[in-house]
Amino acid sequence: MVGVSTGGVSALKFLLGALSVDFPVPVLVVTHITPDADDGLAMLLNTLCAIRVKEADELDVLLPGTVYLAPANYHLLVEKCGCLALSIDPPVNFARPSVDVLFVSAAEAFGPELVGIILTGAGNDGSSGLRKIKNCGGVAIVQDPADAEMDAMPKNALSMVTPDYIIRLSELPDLLVNLVSGQSSQ
């Protein structure tokens, strides 16, 4: 579960590119893209990464080894049944898709079996969602602001949450593999 904004495409290329096709859990990603974008980013990442990357569709059943990218101009939510839902509710933190909307619904659906990550980005989207993940017993990770292309999103997250890990992007893939090996998390 990754929330990422400005500078996010290269961060995503690195992170998702480092995950193998047998990564044992699904990964959900919200990135702040323009409302009229198509699924080009998902297709690009899918060709660059070993792990399967697709644009999220409603009713998608979450599968391991798969990355689901929130579509432009829709919020992405998780239902308790483990499938995905979309909405066109008003933007949250000026963003649609919003990281907070995904994180809150995922925390409610998965509780402690969830890892929330805030990467580079502008604005404060994701901060209260990450707090919700933490309150529900999940793991919170924030990219070291000094390491982020844009430090506002990680900084804002750190002002609201004491995360379990503050790390550099380069260390993130190994940490994720360790966290999810042998357990089912997102």
């Binding site: 409603e58 829709y74 839902a85 925390a107």
Partner: protein, 276 residues
């Protein structure tokens, strides 16, 4: 049991109560979005839990009406997804032009922006006086707003851009008058639109439609309700009629899929076949 799990139970109990008392059926709405909207309403309501609010909601119609506004209001904009409206001009309008009169059902019209967008296209394509749009929504408050056709002036810049991208052939400013901070849409656009309250979850079909627009409404429904509403649309459409869904909605894997062909991949405009 966690507080989140208790909230889940409260949501279910409240939806059951609302159905039995008022007849509005939200039991088949997709849970994550419904819960998000209920939580937002609760935060502004002054009640600490849904259980406490429930006792009042089931007895106080005015309070319930406020909740109803909160959980059924959908946002809308003019020419949302310009490429959809461009495809409408290219793929659908030429067929509609062959009919003497065209009936359109816009289900879930919210505050009316898309219904007016459609009216603008039909005017520009020379169908003036030959069509009627039945624009419906479950929420009576938004229907009243839709009827007024008054929108914040600050939105007009964005709407103008979308209009141009959608293949608009005129000048968008001809369609509204700016008054203080508002844009009042030209009254003639309203002449061919009938706004009415209609609840997709419980109300009956509209007969003999040539085109049904229902974009980004079904995403809020659970699968059985999606299926039921699609059957309602199927019943309401004439053979050769068109069904338009949102960019991220699809007929694929739905029961009525075989009765339809998709006009162009990913455009989400479907045409009902003449024979099954």
């Amino acid at each position: 049991m966690t507080s989140d799990e208790i909230t889940d139970i409260e949501v279910k109990l409240l939806m059951e109560g609302i159905y039995q008392v008022y007849g509005y059926d939200f039991r088949e709405y997709a849970e994550a979005s419904l819960r998000r909207r209920l939580t937002q309403w609760l935060t502004g309501s002054g009640y600490s839990t849904l259980s406490i609010a429930q006792s009042h909601l089931l007895r106080d119609r005015l309070l319930f009406d406020k909740l109803l506004q909160g959980i059924t209001v959908n946002v809308s904009e003019m020419f949302r997804d310009p490429s959809f409206f461009k495809n409408m001009r290219e793929l659908v309008i030429p067929h509609l032009k062959t009919y003497p009169f065209v009936k359109i059902w816009h289900a879930g019209c919210a505050t009316g922006e898309e219904a007016y967008s459609m009216a603008i296209i039909l005017h520009e394509e020379g169908l003036h006086g030959r069509f009627r749009i039945y624009a419906t929504d479950i929420n009576e408050e938004v229907i009243r707003k839709a009827q007024e056709g008054i929108y914040p002036l600050q939105d007009m810049q964005r709407f103008t851009r979308s209009y141009q991208h959608s293949g608009g052939s005129g000048s968008f400013s001809d369609y509204y008058t700016a008054r203080y901070h508002h844009a009042i849409l030209t009254p003639s656009l309203r002449e061919n639109i009938v706004f009415a309250a209609h609840n997709l979850a419980v109300d009956a079909d509209f007969g003999e439609m040539n085109l049904i627009l229902c974009r980004n409404v079904l995403i809020y429904f659970k699968l059985p309700l999606k299926e039921r509403v699609l059957e309602l649309f199927d019943k309401s459409l004439t053979p050769g009629g068109f069904l338009c869904l949102g960019t991220k909605e699809s007929l694929e894997q739905r029961t009525i899929y075989d009765n339809y062909e998709e006009l162009r991949p990913r455009v989400k405009i479907y045409r009902k076949r003449y024979e099954k």
